[in-house]
């Protein structure tokens, strides 16, 4: 028997090029539910709906099935004015799938007097350098939707929002 201990093969000796590469390309399908269906159906007709909590009267655009504060169902629907204010916004510099060529702007927009905001693109802003945007977009900037000519009941039936002139 050898006197010197033979060391086991350690993981440090494994060639790091040995990788198992794989790709997932699965089709998923989600039931969007009655509340979202009603919202998206209205968008086909260029209407924006919200729903309210009977208890606290809070308005939710986009709608939600229950008021998170009161834990009450939000059964009452209202069509809201097509007007929003920017709660926050950010310029995206990374290229991302089939999204707009960067830099593009996503924003959290408070529609009507909603308790929460809706994410969407903001466009139609003239600027040369993204730093210019600091002067042109602010919390509270008023925006309006720009509708797609063909609509199919999807959040992108509004192509983007733009500052109100």
């Amino acid at each position: 028997m050898a006197e010197e201990k033979v060391e086991s093969v350690t993981t440090d000796e494994v060639d790091s090029e040995y990788k198992y590469n794989f790709h997932w390309d699965l089709d998923f399908s989600l039931n969007i539910g009655e509340v979202n269906r009603k919202f998206f159906e209205a968008m086909k007709d260029k209407r924006i709906l919200g729903n309210t909590c009977e208890e606290c009267k809070g308005l939710f655009v986009p709608p939600q099935p229950i008021c998170i504060e009161c834990y009450e169902e939000t059964d009452e629907w209202v069509e809201v004015e097509q007007h929003g204010v920017v709660e926050s916004w950010t310029v995206c510099f990374r290229e991302w799938g089939d999204l707009p060529e960067p830099p593009y702007i996503t924003a959290a927009i408070r529609i009507a007097d909603s308790e929460h905001t809706m994410l969407h693109f903001i466009d139609d802003i003239e600027y040369e350098d993204h730093n210019d945007l600091n002067q042109k977009l602010h919390k509270g900037t008023e925006v309006e939707p720009v509708w797609a000519e063909e609509r199919e009941g999807h959040i992108l039936d509004i192509t983007h929002w733009r500052p109100v002139e």
Partner: protein, 380 residues
């Protein structure tokens, strides 16, 4: 209430790739170290808590694969997706209920994939994903608000990041150890809003394990490295709402309040903290949420070096998530780092009590669960 002790821990990491090793191999190495340090045999282990996230480790099938290296065969093997802080909160409750005396909390990060796609795929499908929303963009929204609403500048964000990188340079297991300066941070690639690449977290790979034991076992074996004296856990609202309110991090504040109450201490009794802040502005406002300073005073703490490695209240002696951010393992690592601070193995702070603030915001900010834990020096 009976105390719970951290008796041992093991780390295998951290870097920008897994260096050719599998998740099983990394977890095994970390587990064996933790068992040895804790003086705990596999027969004494009552249960395992695994903090893997579906998004980052594929599927529940990998749970089964991790039972072996974690030593969980024929024992309860629980899975918690909110991270290490939540796992410790729950595991400690299990021990205090008398259901177990020894629990191992384990995690590893080994699957290499685009972190932006992973984060995006876990965001809400109808209203967020169509806009490419991911963790970086969610932090971009917050940081844009922070700069507009508060007297805080991009230089303040960069200075806060650099403070973390300075600490990470002294931490041998940190991922980013280059000691980036404020200038480096400002001049790195713009990513989203005011955030540059060095203001966003890397995706780190590795494994970490901690073994916690009941007070009875800790005293019998004299193996307490740190005592867990307080825990708090809170879940916040999903969807973007009032950004001013979100910046205050009320969820973190409530979790900290619960932890302080249980430990019978306040922020003035804490000597250092490890905070899961995934962008620099969130670290600054976490100082307020934890009671370390009043509104808008966070930048002063960084400027004056209060929260630096050699400051009076070091935050993130490990370098924090900006330096090291394994998605599933980060929470456990923060707990280990907190323990190491108490042991004098990380930083030079002579600390008796360390706060660890963990959360599950690696995937983004719109929904979050915060876990705050108070650790006190060991010795039974």
């Amino acid at each position: 209430m009976d105390r719970v002790a951290i008796a041992g821990y093991g780390i295998d990491g951290f870097a920008g790739d897994a260096d050719g090793r599998s998740g099983v191999e990394m977890l095994q190495e970390a587990s064996l170290t933790a068992f040895e340090e804790a003086d705990i045999s596999i027969d004494e282990l009552d249960a395992v808590s695994y903090t893997g996230q579906d998004t980052y480790d594929g599927s529940a099938i990998s749970d089964g694969q991790k039972v072996m290296p974690a030593g969980g065969y024929r024992k309860p093997f629980m899975r918690i997706q909110n991270g290490g802080g939540t796992a410790l909160h729950q595991a400690a409750a299990t021990i205090r209920s008398g259901k177990a005396d020894v629990i191992s909390i384990v995690a590893n990060d080994f699957v290499e994939a685009d972190p932006n796609v992973l984060s995006w795929s876990s965001h809400e499908a109808l209203y967020h994903r169509p806009f490419g929303q991911n963790h970086e963009q969610s932090f971009g929204l917050l940081e844009t608000s922070l700069l507009e609403e508060r007297d805080i500048t991009r230089e303040d964000l960069a200075r806060t990041a650099a403070k973390n990188y300075e600490a990470a340079a002294e931490n041998e297991v940190a991922h980013r150890r280059e000691g980036y300066t404020t200038k480096d941070v400002l001049e790195s690639e713009p990513i989203v809003g005011p955030l540059t690449e060095l203001m966003t977290v890397p995706q780190s790979f590795g494994a970490a394990v901690i073994i916690i034991v009941s007070e009875e076992v800790a005293k019998e074996k004299d193996n307490a490295r740190a005592w867990l004296t307080g825990t708090g856990l809170r879940t916040g609202r999903y969807k973007y709402r009032d950004m001013s309110e979100r910046l205050k991090q009320p969820n973190l504040e409530k979790a900290a309040s619960a932890a302080f109450q249980e430990a019978g201490v306040g922020i003035d009794d804490i000597d250092a903290a490890e905070v899961a802040a995934y962008s620099p502005g969130l670290e600054l406002t976490s100082y307020e949420a934890l009671g370390l300073c009043d509104r808008d005073e966070g930048t002063s703490l960084v400027e004056q070096g209060v929260t630096a490695s050699d400051g009076s209240f070091p935050v993130n002696l490990s370098g924090g998530p900006l330096a090291t951010s394994p998605p599933s393992t980060g929470g456990i690592y923060r707990l280990i780092a907190g323990t190491q601070v108490l042991e004098g193995k990380l930083g030079d702070k002579d600390a008796e009590r360390v706060l660890v603030a963990d959360n599950d915001m690696h995937l983004g900010e719109p929904g979050r669960t915060d876990a705050v834990l108070v650790l006190e020096g060991g010795a039974a």
